[in-house]
Each structure stands twice: as C-alpha cells, then as structure tokens.
Amino acid sequence: MEIIQVLSYGILLGGLYSLLSSGLALIFGVLDIVNVAQGAFLVSGAFLTWQIWDLTGIEPILLIPVVALLWFGLGIIIYRTLFVRVAPQGPSMTVLLSFGLALIIEGALNLIFGNKFKSVQTSYSLQSYKLGEINFPAPQVIASLAAAVVLVLLYLYLMLSWAGRALRATAQNRDGAALIGISHRKISSFAYGLGMATAGAGGVLISVSYPIYPATHYEWISKLLGIIVLGGMGSIPGAIIGSMLLGIVEAAGNTYAPQWTILFFYGVIILSLLFKPEGLLGARSRKDSV
C-alpha cells in the first residue's frame, strides 16, 4: 500500500512539473534559449495570483487564463525588446540576459511584496481526498488536473493551429521554415510568449500548493532544467516524461531516504545522460548540417 501512496504523490508532483517544464522546453526547442528566467516568471505569476486573490478572494484556479494571457503578452514584449537584440550573439549571451532578468524580477518582487512568504488559502488548501488508505492532497490534485488541462490545450493548439504548425516547423528546421514563408522573428516572439504563458499558468498552480517567496525561483529553475535535460532539451513530451519520472523519484526519496533525495534526483539525470546523452526523447543534433 505504501508504494501506491508514494507513486500517487510522485504522479501528482510530476503532473505539476510537466506544465512548469513544458514552457522551458518549448522556448529551448524553438529559440535555442536556455531561459533561466523561467523560474522567476513562474514565481512572479504566483505573486500576481496571490495579489489578486488577496484583493478579491477569487478562486485562484480561475485566474489561469488571465495570468497566462498577461504573461503571453509580456513574453512577446520581452522577446522583441531584449532577446531579439541579444540572440544573434549566441546562446551564452541569452543565458546571461535571462539570468539578469531573473535577478531583476527577484529584486522587483522583493521591493513590491517584501521579503515575506505569501500563502494563498482556498477552501481545499488543507483538504485531502481518500481512496481506501491512500491520501491525495487536494491542492496537489487540483493543481495536477489543471496542469493536465492546460497541457492538453497547448498540445491541441500546437497540433491543429497554423501558428502551432509554424512553431513546430521552426523547431525542426529553422531555415526550412523560413524558406516556406514563416517569419522567424514573429514565430520566435510567439514561442517565447507561449513559454511565458505556461509560466503564468504554472505560477497560479504553485501559489495554491506552496508558500511563495521571491528567492524560490532558484529552486524551481534548477529542478526544471534538470527535467528538460532528462527529457531531451526542446522536447515537450520528453519534459512530461521527465517530470513524471523525477516526480516519482522525489516522492520515493522523501519517503525512504530524504537525505539522499537530491542525489537521487540528479543521479537519475546523470545516469540517463550516460546512456542517452540527448535525453529521453531528444534528437541528436548535427551542428555541421544546415
């Protein structure tokens, strides 16, 4: 029975990680940008949710479309004003830029909200669902379900819309996509906006599950980077599989040997990279090909 409990905790955790890491994978897949600021966008989305909830008492989950849309717009502005100028200088410069952005966001959150933890309290914050002897914490269940809904919508959009197809085409072959008339500049800012929208939606979800604090973005980004490296940089399905796997590893570690959980978490990533350096679902890239 205990193993089922551990698996259920892991899957719930993995569900949340899936949405949080998908945006990071998307941005890398299309733009070749390791967006270190993704954790800060996530945490700032959580703070915005807390602020609106604190003022209005609205159910936070209902804010997913609002925060996601706002972050989408913000993402497009950030890409067009900052990344578009720095991206031609190479990946290391975009990493520096996104790290700088993360520090600025952390500082801004400190100034606006203070160095204090904020918690969103909902009617289900302290509840859990029971199935026999198995416990399912309500905030995690709701967050995972909401993450699944957002991911399905994202998948459908990427598969069925023209913009989604253009985005996938660019991710597969940037020059080929340009040859058939897909504007790299437009699709790049769209991809960055979409990645940020997932961070906004994810921010709403972490606000219902955890106390939030400006500096927690470091913890999130280190986990999310680990997940997309395991899944295969740029692969959204890979990010989802990586999330589930590492969610279960984390839950099992916390149950049986918490002191070693971090070692297990990153150990799995290192081991898998030894056998499959491109990640679970990553494609081997040839830099000599055009």
Partner: protein, 409 residues
C-alpha cells in the same frame, strides 16, 4: 634696530601662524572626534534564500542606530551603518567582510544572518582580529575552531535551543508524558543540532524514537514525510525547520489528519502572520517553539525598540525576532565599545568575555570562545497569539496547552 624689528616681526608672524595652525589643527582634531561618524560594517543577505531574516536583521540594526544616534551616539560619535548585500552567498559574505575591513577600513563590524553565513564571516573576523557579534549563528560548528573574536548574541547555542521544551515534557507526570517521538530536520547547521540534541535527551529519558529523518534544504514536498510520520504514530513531532519546510510539513499533517500530543518546530512558528496565514490560525494552537525574544518581555529598552520599530516601519507591526536579535547584537557591541572607551577590537573581545551585557533579549554573557551562557525561552501559540510559557521569570502566560488540540480543516 630695523633689522631686529624685522626679525621680531618675523618671529611674531611665525609664532602667530604656528599658533593659528595649532589652533585650527587642534580644533580639527577636536571636532573630528565628535563629528566623524562611527562606521559599522555589516554584510546581510538582503536577497536570495535568507532575504527574509536578512531584511528583518537590517531593520533591527537600523532601529538601534536610530535610537543610539538620537541619544548622542556611541562615545559621542554618530553611528553610520555600512550595509552590503551578500545575496545569501557564503562566498559573497567573505568578499563583503574583507572589503569592509581591508578596503573600507571600518573600525567595527556586526554579524550577518544564519549559521551558514556567519561561519565564513567568523573566519574573516578571526583572520583580521575583528570582533564579530552575530545576531544568528549558534551552530556548534562555528565554535569548533575555538574563535577568539566571535560572539553569538542570543541566550544559548543551537543544541541548547531544545532544552526548555525537553524540560517541559519531562516535567509532565509519568501518566501524561508522551512515550514516542518523531524527528525530521533540515540538514542545516542551526536546525540540525537542535533536533539532534532533543532526540538524545528524550531517548535518554526513555521516550522512544519512532521516526528520524534529515532532509536537504531544497526539499519542498512534505506529504511523503507526513504520511511516514503518521504511520509511525508518534506522540511528539519535532521538526528542525526554517520556514517553508515547517509550513509544508504542518500542512501535510493537517491534510492527512494526524495530530500529535505535542508539536515543536524551530524558527517557522516564530514568523507570526506568515506562519498562521499558511497553516490557518486555528491550526497554530498549541505549537511550541524556542525563541530568543518576545515583544512583551520586560527587558531594558525592549519597549523603546518596539516603539521605534513601529515608528520606522509601520504602526502596529510586531518586530520580527530576527530584528530583535540584530538589535541585541548591536547593543552588545555598543556596550563593549563604551566599556573599553574605544574601538580596539582585541580589547573589545576581552571585555565581552569578562562582562555581562543587558540587552532586549535579557542579560547575555559568554565563555572563552564566545558561546552564550543563558537559556532560550519556550513559546507556544495560544488563541492566535504567541505566549512565553517558560521559564517562569519570562512567562507571559500561565496557561499551557497540552495535549495539542486536533487540527481544524
């Protein structure tokens, strides 16, 4: 005659200029002694993981400087704080204190926040023979190198923080005394020794350990811990927590519905509304923690500290314990400077080893390696507010809640 007159005039002119020069220089010395500020160098984690306690400590130092300057300063000099941000980084804290001491040439320094940062800071202080009075940093590891210049400005070192709670539990009649305990602690130089010492004391008293785990600081998901602890059915749950981990374990236990007879956490419950907002005010009832300070304590300057804090940072705000600890650390340094009549750091260290200092935390004194010799206070959440329940001299409530009531969902 003419020549001698000229000579006399020349001599008089030289004498006058010399006298004027001496007068000006003398005045300059005199005035610089009183008008030059006494700069105190401090590095604090104003960003990063420890930004919350770092920000609170900054407020505590600022309140102290405000009160001291209003009262004429230290040895007649106005105090100026030179505060740098170490971004919660052990590397940056070393850079900061080296810069403050060797580049900015500050005559005095005060400590940063957390054992994790004060440990490297203490090494810099020792190497430069500068007294470092630290508002936090009671980990036993800091005292292992036998420091001469490090002084921890709370009542006791980390391992002894658990003692008031242990003493209370062991004072219960045999029939009421819990028989089993579970321990979970962050792998942290302060929280870890608190819980390790508590476990050793309880085991020695016959209270059986049914769960004991150490977790890394990055841990955020505590439902697995809550499930494992509930399965072990301990009557006492003790957690070496910082904040988020304390909240998340409590929430996990509430969600599962397992409430022990007594629950003790380090640090997390001392965060006032941040703690009660996170787990629900009703669920704080009966939770114990050890604390260094209470806003209700009748210690010298405490009322002034609270009043000035509220004047500077907001009416009705209750100062954080971390702010009070920083204020007390500054009081300790002030007492040493005034006691020795200067800023000679080796003399300050000798003075602190030989004297007791009255602070808002109560009287503090230290042994040869800067370990404080007092006792922490035992606090408990009662009816939505915090009361000191031990020792008798510091009690703010005679009521003590045991066993802890069930959680409210």
């Amino acid at each position: 005659m003419n020549n001698s007159y000229k000579g006399l005039r020349k001599t008089a002119l030289v004498a006058a200029v010399t006298a004027l020069g001496l007068l000006i220089t003398g005045c300059g010395i005199g005035s610089s002694k009183n008008s030059d500020p006494l700069v105190i160098g401090i590095s604090l984690p104003l960003t990063g993981d420890f930004a919350q306690p770092g920000g609170a400590a900054k407020k505590g130092y600022e309140v102290w400087a405000s009160l001291v300057n209003e009262d004429g300063g230290v040895l007649g000099q106005q105090v100026e704080l030179n505060i740098l941000d170490d971004a919660s980084s052990a590397e940056q804290v070393v850079t900061d204190y080296n810069r403050l001491i060797n580049q900015d040439k500050v005559p005095l320094i005060l400590g940063t926040f957390s054992s994790l940062l004060n440990f490297p800071a203490s090494t810099v202080a020792e190497n430069n023979e500068m007294v470092l009075v630290a508002p936090a940093g009671g980990s036993p590891k800091i005292f292992e190198p036998m420091p001469k210049y490090y002084f921890f400005a709370q009542q006791a070192t980390a391992p002894r923080q658990a003692e008031p709670f242990v003493n209370y539990i062991l004072s219960l009649p045999e029939s009421e005394r819990p028989k089993t305990a579970a321990y979970a602690t962050m792998d942290d130089p302060f929280a870890g020794p608190v819980i390790a010492n508590m476990q050793a004391l309880f085991e020695a008293a016959g209270i059986k350990t049914v769960y004991s785990k150490v977790y890394p600081p990055e841990t955020t998901n505590f439902q697995p811990f809550a499930s494992a602890i509930a399965k072990a059915k301990p009557e006492i749950i003790a957690q070496g927590a910082v904040f988020e981990d304390g909240v998340n374990l409590a929430k996990g236990l509430i969600q599962i519905g397992y409430s022990p007879k007594a629950m003790f956490q380090t640090s997390a419950p001392s965060n006032g509304a941040q703690y009660s907002d996170a787990i629900g005010l009703a669920n704080t009832e009966g939770i114990f923690y050890a604390v260094s300070w209470s806003e209700k304590a009748p210690t010298p300057m405490n009322a002034e500290f609270v009043a000035r804090y509220q004047k500077l940072f907001g009416a009705g705000l209750v100062p954080e314990e971390d702010a009070a600890d920083a204020f007390a650390a500054a009081q300790v340094l002030q007492a040493a400077v005034e006691g020795t009549g200067g800023t000679d750091n080796p003399a300050l260290a000798d003075w602190l080893r030989a004297n007791e200092v009255q602070t808002i935390l109560g009287p503090l004194s230290w042994d040869e390696i800067g370990r404080p010799q007092g006792d922490f206070l035992l606090a408990q959440w009662q009816s939505g507010e915090v009361n000191i329940v031990a020792p008798d001299v510091a009690k703010t409530s005679n009521n003590l809640i045991f066993p802890k009531p069930a959680w409210t969902k």
